[in-house]
């Protein structure tokens, strides 16, 4: 190779390296691994009633959603987390299927119309409010009787800026705020 061509080759290679590096430092979008139940969770949950788990409602703002990976479905993540916690507690579940607007009002309407909760169990509906990264998670939960009576509601929030706990710390704390709540435990009985 002539020296002039060698210089050109080095320049192209250098440019390629720069482009590659620039690609590497682009901030990654947030996409957590699937939820896993904490084996050391400090609460016990039991119920003889079947729990119908509604698919979670996505209330994320555009700003918050922009920080998430497009492949990540935050509402599905929350539904999955709730179902896994109930399964780990040995509580029977029913999948919810109803054609009403996604939201707590829609659930209440479905209950009033008899489209939900006909099995005599309770209905758990949840909404994800904020989840821009692995530090903050905010969710709303509402538990209804089969007749549409609101039995329990709570807004759970965890902001974890500590090195304590793993990355799963924040979702675990949110689940603990729900499942370890004595009022929730009483309502789900």
């Amino acid at each position: 190779m002539k020296p002039r061509h060698a210089g050109l080759a080095y320049a192209v290679a250098g440019l390629g390296l720069l482009v590659t590096l620039a690609g590497c430092v682009t901030p990654a979008k947030f996409s957590p691994a699937p939820y896993s139940v904490d084996p050391n969770r400090p609460y016990r949950l039991s119920s003889n009633r079947t729990v119908t788990v509604c698919p979670a409602f996505d209330r994320l703002t555009e700003e918050a959603r922009a920080q998430l990976s497009p492949a990540f479905n935050s509402a599905a993540y929350l539904t999955d987390a709730v179902q896994k916690e109930l399964t780990a507690a040995g509580i029977a579940q029913n999948p919810a299927s109803f054609a009403y607007s996604p939201g707590f009002a829609g659930v209440q309407k479905a209950l009033q119309d008899g489209a939900l909760g006909r099995d005599g169990g309770v209905v758990l509906a949840e909404a994800i409010n904020h989840f821009p990264n692995d530090r903050i998670l905010s969710c709303d939960f509402k538990l209804y009787s089969g007749q549409g009576k609101l039995l329990f509601e709570k807004r759970c929030l965890c902001m974890g800026y500590s090195s304590e706990g793993g990355w799963n710390f924040v979702p675990h704390m949110v689940m603990q705020q729900l499942f370890a709540d004595p009022d929730f435990q009483k309502a789900i009985q």
């Binding site: 400090p42 821009p132 929030l157 965890c158 974890g160 800026y161 706990g165 710390f169 705020q177």
Partner: protein, 216 residues
């Protein structure tokens, strides 16, 4: 002479009344920091800080600062002294505080939340000609009924100064606690209004350590 006394008395009374009215006018507005938490009154118990440093007075300063700022933000506070009194009445040494379940503590202290602090660094560092104060702490707000963490942070503040000393460290902590409580209030109010948006609590406060845990 009697008339003069009477006039003087009336003047003092009027001044007192004016002060009373003015006092009412300048009272800070009630800051509804509890709204997001959906409870009429949010009661926070400040657990005596655990101290990993040689500065014996550090926990007293931190606990008192939390108390002042939380009260100013509209929270009902059970202060660290009351917690110590409660522990004494049960015959539990402060070092064994962790053996009592959060639900038990919350119930006994009539508190919704428990604030824990672990002081990691408190003091002065010297470099060649100038010194500076550095304070580092691990703070946690726990929901008493469930034992779940609501908010947790590892934070460090340092400031360079030629005077240094622990007075500066105290001032640093004061600034930090004020900003943290204010940001908790701002966040909760914003959440209460919008129901959906939370921004990172510490973004506007440089000097606080970035998060240390890492995602997989």
């Amino acid at each position: 002479m009697r008339t003069l006394h009477l006039a003087h008395g009336l003047l003092v009374l009027a001044a007192g009344f004016s002060l009373f009215v003015l006092g009412g006018c300048v009272q800070p507005p009630q800051r509804p920091a509890w709204r997001y938490l959906q409870r009429p009154v949010v009661r926070v118990a400040i657990l005596p800080s655990s101290n990993q440093t040689a500065q014996v007075g550090a926990p007293l300063i931190i606990d008192k600062l939390w108390e002042e700022h939380l009260r100013a933000a509209g929270f009902t506070v059970v202060n660290a002294d009351s917690v110590v009194t409660y522990l004494s009445s049960r015959g539990v040494p402060v070092a064994k505080l962790g053996t009592i379940q959060p639900a038990q503590l919350g119930s006994d202290l009539h508190a919704d939340y428990l604030l824990e602090d672990d002081i990691l660094v408190w003091g002065t560092k010297y470099r060649v000609l100038v010194g500076g104060a550095v304070v580092s702490c691990r703070s946690k707000l726990i929901e008493a009924s469930t034992g779940a963490t609501i908010w947790a942070s590892d934070w460090i503040m340092q400031q360079q100064s030629d005077s240094g000393g622990n007075g500066l460290a105290g001032a640093l902590v004061n600034a930090l606690v004020e900003s943290v409580v204010d940001s908790m209030f701002d966040e909760s109010t914003q959440l209460a209004k919008q129901g959906v948006t939370v921004q990172s609590m510490f973004q506007p406060y440089p000097g606080i350590a970035p998060p240390m845990a890492s995602a997989p």
